[in-house]
Subunit: 167 residues, 2 copies
């Protein structure tokens, strides 16, 4: 496989993977493009490479910046803005895990806490409801705090964790 083919395949795979971590295709593809680029890219260059419109590029780059994954690079003597993404995969994983927790997991945990706290009126349906939503709450809470712990280790957390975990 040649570089160009591999590049296309990577960008497209990463793009369709977007849904897995909760972002849209264009957003994931822009990130992928920046991730393998040797230097920051301008809006123009991103549009050109991915064949997407200016508006689309602008909106999705902004979202990536909101996520903390992409940063503006000011190049001296250049009017236009250039963008680059976090290049360290561990750090990237940390940012993504943290943001997903904040945006999606924690709100759900809050809801589970609420609904599992209804008063037990003695009916079988209510008992089952409370029991099951509590169990779910506990699981989600534990999983999220585990993620939080992993995510707050600055260095090499995944590997370290595995070592600890499986002797």
């Amino acid at each position: 496989m040649e570089y160009l083919e591999a590049k296309e395949k990577f960008i497209s795979t990463w793009g369709s993977l977007g849904t897995l971590w909760g972002i849209n295709k264009a957003m994931a593809q822009i990130q992928a493009l920046l991730f393998i680029s040797t230097k920051p890219l301008s809006t123009e260059q991103i549009m050109e490479e991915l064949k997407i419109s200016r508006g689309n590029t602008s909106m999705n780059v902004r979202q990536l910046i909101d996520w903390g994954i992409v940063t503006k690079e000011l190049i001296p003597g250049e009017r236009r803005e250039y963008f680059s993404t976090e290049k360290d995969v561990q750090e990237l994983a940390r940012i993504i895990a943290k943001e997903r927790s904040r945006r999606e997991i924690r709100p759900v945990i809050k809801t589970l806490e609420e609904v599992s706290s209804i008063k037990d009126d003695g009916t079988a349906a209510t008992k089952e409801f409370i029991q099951q939503t509590k169990a779910l709450h506990d699981l989600a809470d534990t999983a999220d705090s585990m993620l939080g712990k992993l995510v707050n280790q600055k260095q090499n957390w995944l590997t370290k964790s595995i070592l600890k975990m499986f002797k």
Copy 2:
């Protein structure tokens, strides 16, 4: 909050969460409904509770069965089929993690392996591409095998893992 309100809130929250674990709204809602039900439900009952069509119910129940999350219950003397879901949250988490790995993560790892194996032609772009996709491949591979380990412990894996991990 009363039972009925809590139930609705739970089903709707769980439904919109579907995207997080890669299934659609109706599918997640059916699973949620079964999860808090004291007994298996028929297609008819699911349609009624969730206000969705017969076809929709049929297709999504089938998918849940494919995932291994829902099972047909044959009730003696009854013609129609009844369905129930795995009630143990740990087991549920195991099944979901396993399926997601198989369906989504492993294919991506395979692609990453392929694209990171192109031959180094000496250009900076190719060097960067190989380095970055390799790093991503390593991370994904490690994360997936970690998930696999967790998932193959039958009992109480999350809690145990956390204990081991954080002393």
